[in-house]
């Protein structure tokens, strides 16, 4: 079992730290439908945490709870050790939680660079008047943020399309730009909603490599949802398995793979 206060060391020898995000007995309802039923789990500093489950299991709902798009009816969200009051998605983003979307939500009319720069918005502190007058502070701030954005663009190997309007890019690259924008926020927690959905094998391999590199290079804590079991097992340190809104498994990929409830959920089982 895990030590709750300390952390653990992964199979490949990475040190995982304390709890960044903790979900306590979360229940989320839409009218009479319970999308999430009394689920608890935590996400630790520096780890890659996956949430998996069959269609309609409530994975995306869970991600939306973490990122503030949904407010759960019951339960508590603890961020960096203290309970988080119900807040708007933009406030969650300002607290250092960045995300991507299953169906890609980029600013189609803007260039790749501009899109990545929007990821820096939470780091820009100068006020409206300073910005409008373009005073010294506003200018140096823009330069500093631009440097971070360029670094991330280099890192994700999208320099060649920096100035291209996003609407013209193919699907796989759009996914990568969305990752770049989320990374630009230098988040304490990065949420990826099906980062590999709709990709071919080659694109999936690229994306997996980037996710691992990001985690390795920047030490970013990542929580991701993914359908592709193979990919999840390779990438993640710990896995939460959901089915019909309930948590049916939680542990390392090896532990989860051996869990009978998980096997039943994925392969189907005769109900009596």
């Amino acid at each position: 079992m895990l030590d709750q206060s300390q952390g653990y060391t992964t199979e490949d020898g990475r040190k995982i730290g304390g709890v960044v995000m903790e979900m306590r007995n979360i229940t989320l309802r839409f009218g009479g439908v319970e999308a999430i039923k009394d689920i608890s789990f935590d996400i630790r500093e520096g780890e890659i945490r996956a949430i998996i489950g069959p269609n309609g299991a409530g994975k995306s709902s869970m991600l939306n709870v973490i990122s503030g798009f949904y407010i759960p009816q019951e339960g508590e969200v603890l961020y960096k050790g203290s309970p988080r009051p119900p807040m708007k998605p933009y406030q969650v983003a300002q607290q250092g939680i960045a995300r991507t979307f299953q169906n890609i939500a980029l600013f189609e009319g803007m260039s790749v660079l501009d899109n990545v720069m929007t990821g820096r918005l939470t780091h820009m502190k100068t006020g409206l008047w300073q910005q409008a007058l373009w005073k010294g502070a506003a200018e140096t701030e823009e330069t500093a943020n631009r440097e971070v954005a360029e670094k991330i663009i280099d890192f994700l190997e999208i320099q060649a399309i920096r100035k291209t309007p996003v609407a013209r890019l193919p699907y796989g690259l759009k996914k990568r730009v969305e990752l770049a924008r989320a990374l630009a926020a230098e988040p304490s927690l990065l949420l990826l909603d099906e980062p590999m959905a709709g990709m071919n094998v080659e694109e999936k391999e690229d994306m997996s490599r980037f996710i691992l590199d990001v985690n390795d290079e920047f030490g970013t804590t990542i929580a991701l949802i993914e359908h592709d079991m193979g990919v999840v097992m390779d990438l993640s340190d710990r896995v939460v398995v959901m089915d019909y809104g309930k948590k049916i498994g939680d542990g390392t990929p090896a532990e989860v793979r051996g869990n009978q409830a998980v096997i039943d959920a994925y392969l189907g089982v005769a109900h009596d």
């Binding site: 990122s67 798009f69 708007k88 998605p89 933009y90 406030q91 983003a93 300002q94 960045a98 995300r99 979307f101 939500a105 980029l106 600013f107 189609e108 009319g109 803007m110 501009d114 720069m117 929007t118 990821g119 918005l121 939470t122 820009m124 100068t126 409206l128 910005q131 409008a132 373009w134 506003a138 823009e142 924008r181 989320a182 926020a185």
Partner: protein, 329 residues
């Protein structure tokens, strides 16, 4: 140079400058429509309200004087002071920002995610409400707004062109000022949108609400910001039109003239609003001069713009600069 040609050039120039004023109104529509998908029918009334407020503040009018007099049997109308134009403009900007905040706080906050037609109906309601409040606050009499802008024929141009062509152009100083102000306003707005943090956030909201939220942009703040900017643009339009033809109810009808401008320029493009305004301004003046007056009995300026808009609706519904709408099946 034949006099006919010189005269045509003069009509062309006057058309350009009339177009600038149309563009100013259209600009207010585009700002709000881009950021929130709301077609703001109240833009014209906002221009009227801004001009009335500016006049009221400048001349030390007591707001709601008629109402106060009717209830308390008093007879007050003026504070008895007058405030310099520049300071009054600053104060009016403050009033327009307050209005933007109230519009967002008390109307559109409750309509987030509603159908466009419902948002549109809300702005019609806002238009009538604001018109009523404007009258109640400042009185419905026709006022002459004078913020010290130069008016009348520009003598230098008249003399210079007379020297060159043997025919002096009649160009109004006010139109020149309006053109310069409009140009500065557009440059300022574009720079703001391109190079500042709030401008970037504004473009983000215009593009995708969900994505904007995920990068930490408060939609509410941005909407108040664009309504404030639209209020500011309305004020500028109100000052120009008010100086030209007086502050009166018909000022709010210039919003209708902005519609064909938007059809031409596209609802989502700031440069489009400018170019559309110029085309309509020049088009209606030239048409009247070359075809309307000699062959059609004149007064074509009233309908030419709508006619042109109709042609555009048939052949290029997204306008010259609008985003092409492609629905994937």
């Amino acid at each position: 140079m034949p006099e006919q040609l010189a005269f045509t050039i003069e009509v062309f120039l006057n058309g350009l400058m009339a177009g600038v004023l149309y563009a100013l109104v259209a600009l207010g529509f585009v700002l709000i429509y881009k950021a929130s998908g709301i077609f703001n029918f109240a833009q014209g009334v906002m221009a009227l309200f801004a001009a009335m407020t500016l006049y009221g503040i400048m001349n030390g009018q007591v707001p709601f004087a008629h109402l106060i007099n009717a209830i308390f049997g008093t007879d007050i109308h003026y504070f008895g002071w007058s405030i310099p134009a520049f300071l009054s403009i600053i104060l009016t900007i403050g009033v327009m920002i307050l209005l933007a905040w109230m519009v967002q706080r008390y109307i559109f906050r409750y309509l987030v995610g509603q159908e466009p037609i419902i948002l549109f109906m809300a702005t019609i309601g806002l238009a009538y409400f604001l018109e009523g409040v404007g009258d109640l606050m400042w009185g419905s009499d026709i006022k002459t707004l004078d913020v010290g802008l130069p008016q009348g024929i520009n003598v230098a141009i008249d003399e210079a062109t007379f020297g060159w062509f043997g025919y002096g152009f009649f160009i109004d100083n006010l139109d020149i000022v309006a053109s310069v102000v409009a140009a500065l306003l557009v440059i300022g707005l574009v720079m703001f949108a391109q190079y500042t943090k709030q401008g970037r956030a504004m473009r983000a909201v215009a593009d995708d609400h969900q994505a904007a939220l995920s990068v930490g942009v408060s939609l509410n703040f941005i909407w108040i910001l664009v309504w404030s900017l639209a209020g500011f643009v309305a004020l500028v339009a109100g000052i120009m039109w008010g100086a030209k033809s007086g502050v009166q109810f018909s000022l709010s009808l210039i919003a209708l003239k902005a519609l064909p401008v938007l059809m031409l320029g596209g609802f989502t493009s700031i440069p489009g609003a400018i170019v559309g305004g110029l085309i309509i301004g020049v088009g209606e003046k030239l048409f009247e001069f070359l075809i309307g007056a000699p062959y059609l009995g004149g007064a074509t300026e009233n309908w030419f713009a709508y006619m042109l808009a109709l042609v555009f609706l048939v052949f290029r519904p997204q306008g010259l600069f609008g985003e092409k709408i492609i629905e994937r099946v």
